[in-house]
Amino acid sequence: MSESRVVGAVEIGTSKVVVLLGEIIDDAGLNIIGHSIGSSQGVKKGVIHNLSAASDCVHAAIMKAEKHAQSRIDEVYLAQTGSHLIGNFNVGSTNVSSPDNLVREIDIQQAREDAKRRKLPADRTYIHHIQNPFLLDGQQVDSPLAREGRHLQVGYWSVHGESSRVSDSLRVIRGIDLDVSDIIISSIASGAVLLEDAEKEHGALVIDIGGGTTDYVLYRGGYIVKTGVVPVGGDHITNDLSIGLRVGRKSAEAFKLKYGRAYYDSADRDEKVWLIGDFTIGDREYPLAAITRIIDARVSEIFSIIKEELSEAELYSPAGIACGVVLTGGTAQLRGIDESVRRHLGLAARVAEGPLDVAAELRQPIYSTALGLLHYALTGQEDRQKPAKPASILRKLSGLLNFE
């Protein structure tokens, strides 16, 4: 008899909450059975500031998705973002212990433990320890087990965040009596479903431009070598337009969506655009150049920060990012965003299209992170897969009574 569990993928963003419900059958198959998008409140730049308001929004979105799926969530996979997330690269090493210099499991474990040994301040907590390739006597190897060598090294990209911020996210989910099975940072979740294995191998940069933050992840040789969060997103562009053009946020958002372009072009100087477009009282003209200049400034700021961070880590090289940039998130739908990447990062870019094996409406960039969470729910972050939880008799019985 097949066992199934219903997994909820929850992304608490600055401007929206995305929930996807997936039914995982025998840890081998995934059916997406429900989804919902709700507006987000109490969240700024990806961080929860008002627990009560955020809980209301998240709980409403979860219940809407459950109602859509006619099923209840068993466990939650939660996306995490925010500028409090910081990554460090730590290297662990050990001398091969066996007299014949053949690497054993105990040596591998020792190198791994050594890489993870770094203590964090009391107010911080680890989210990920992302393993990088092993080096055996300086030579990169995928699996050092039973190979001959003297000195074994392994690197880990460790991502940690403020304990209170992470705890707030967990409390929101626990408020609706659900357990969080895993937390995955947004960029890693998006990258998992948007990139092919070959792209990860040859080098690719995934940039997820959300409302309040921009998350990125860099793959090289098939490994995640850097992640980062830039505390600037699509909402900042809207704010800038609102202030720069002296219009309300609603109008600024309308300008961004209707006329916005990610880069400034000299041809924009002579072009005017109308605020409303029906010549009613209050409707007036704005120069397109003003709009595109404001957007260009913010977008270039985002890409410049990313470029700077990659350069600091000595990871910025067009040859090392051979497959270019993959853009996702709500702001990735901004016109000319790929051209802007080419101008500011000097890399080829494309706007991500969601996986082809999901419904067309779920292929929008807004669902990338949640789809990535379901990917991890199915495959697990570890090499082994989680066994399916056997459903209790009472749960099976109450499952028959979907009278919501």
Partner: protein, 311 residues
């Protein structure tokens, strides 16, 4: 794409200072109207499931109780009247009470519930019965007709407890206990001394029709003399009269032994016996020990005084 592709190395944060340590911290739950509603629905579902389970259990218990307390078997056949009368017809001596022990008909059994084929089989399994017929006579009678075996001889056999028991021998050689016969009727039957086979066994009794014929002719022609016949010995009669030397020996109460040829007409032999008896009586009626009627064309008489005469 989802669930496919490979991720090199693990990425989950376990161990000390992992976010999983925060997941277990008992901090106050953040409530929301939606969460409260979800909890209520969950509780309601659970309650409904428990009530459903309890209801199902009660229903099963009730059904078991009802089935167990039902004393009368469920009526499966079409309604019919109970058997009220048994019409018993026999050409022999079997009594009504014997019939009751064989057919074992329960009170209240309806006409259609009676298995007449099984009843006929049970009756015909009785050794005293040659054939039986069972008929339903609607509305409420059962007619049973029996054809019985007729007794020809009787046998004394040793029972399991060592006691001598009496058995009846029918014309077809069947040996049976005999139910319903008058004591006087059985007392008039001569005893049978069966033919003993080479292996010591006496059954099956064969050729009894010929013996029965002898007895019938004797009873008819010389009824007085026949009453003195005590034992019919088949010591020298294997059951096949056509074989050479097959004789039937009769022993009378006076100790006279009479030898009949099994293959020869019993009427002629009995006529000759009559002549011999009258002749001997006319000669002073000396005591005879053996009369042999099986000799071809003559008869030999052995007297007690040792003299032998030929007739």
């Amino acid at each position: 794409m989802i669930g496919r592709g490979t991720s090199k190395g693990s990425s989950s944060a376990d161990g000390s200072q992992s976010w999983r340590e925060l997941a277990g911290s008992p901090r106050k739950r953040v409530n929301s109207p939606q969460a409260r509603k979800r909890r209520q629905v969950k509780l309601l579902k659970l309650l409904t499931a428990v009530l459903l389970l309890a209801g199902l259990s009660a229903l099963v218990y009730w059904l078991i109780t009802v089935v167990q307390s039902r004393e009368e078997p469920i009526q499966l056949s079409t309604p019919s009247r109970a058997v009220e009368q048994l019409i018993f017809d026999t050409d022999g001596v079997l009594p009504d009470r014997w019939l009751g022990t064989v057919i074992r008909l329960k009170q209240g059994t309806t006409m259609m519930e009676v298995d007449i084929h099984a009843m006929k089989q049970a009756l015909e399994n009785e050794p005293q019965v040659i054939s039986a017929s069972v008929e339903r006579v609607f509305p409420s009678s059962l007619k049973i007709s029996i054809k019985e075996r007729q007794p020809v001889l009787r046998m004394a056999v040793q029972g399991r407890d060592g006691q001598t028991e009496q058995r009846i021998v029918a014309r077809d050689g069947t040996i049976y206990t005999g139910v319903g016969y008058a004591r006087s009727a059985l007392a008039s039957l001569p005893y049978l001394q069966p033919h003993q086979r080479s292996d010591g066994s006496i059954r099956p009794l064969r050729g009894m029709e010929r013996v029965a014929e002898l007895l019938a002719v004797a009873r008819q022609q010389q009824p007085e003399f026949y009453r003195s016949w005590q034992v019919i010995s088949l010591e020298h009669y294997s059951g096949n009269p056509s074989l050479f030397g097959e004789v039937i020996e009769v022993r009378t109460r006076a100790g006279l032994r009479i030898i009949f040829a099994a293959a020869t007409d019993f009427g002629l032999q009995l006529d000759r016996l009559q002549v011999i008896r009258e002749h001997v009586r006319a000669r002073g009626n000396p005591a005879m020990e053996r009369i042999d009627l099986s000799l071809r064309g003559s008869a030999a008489v052995q007297f007690r005084n040792g003299r032998i005469s030929s007739f």
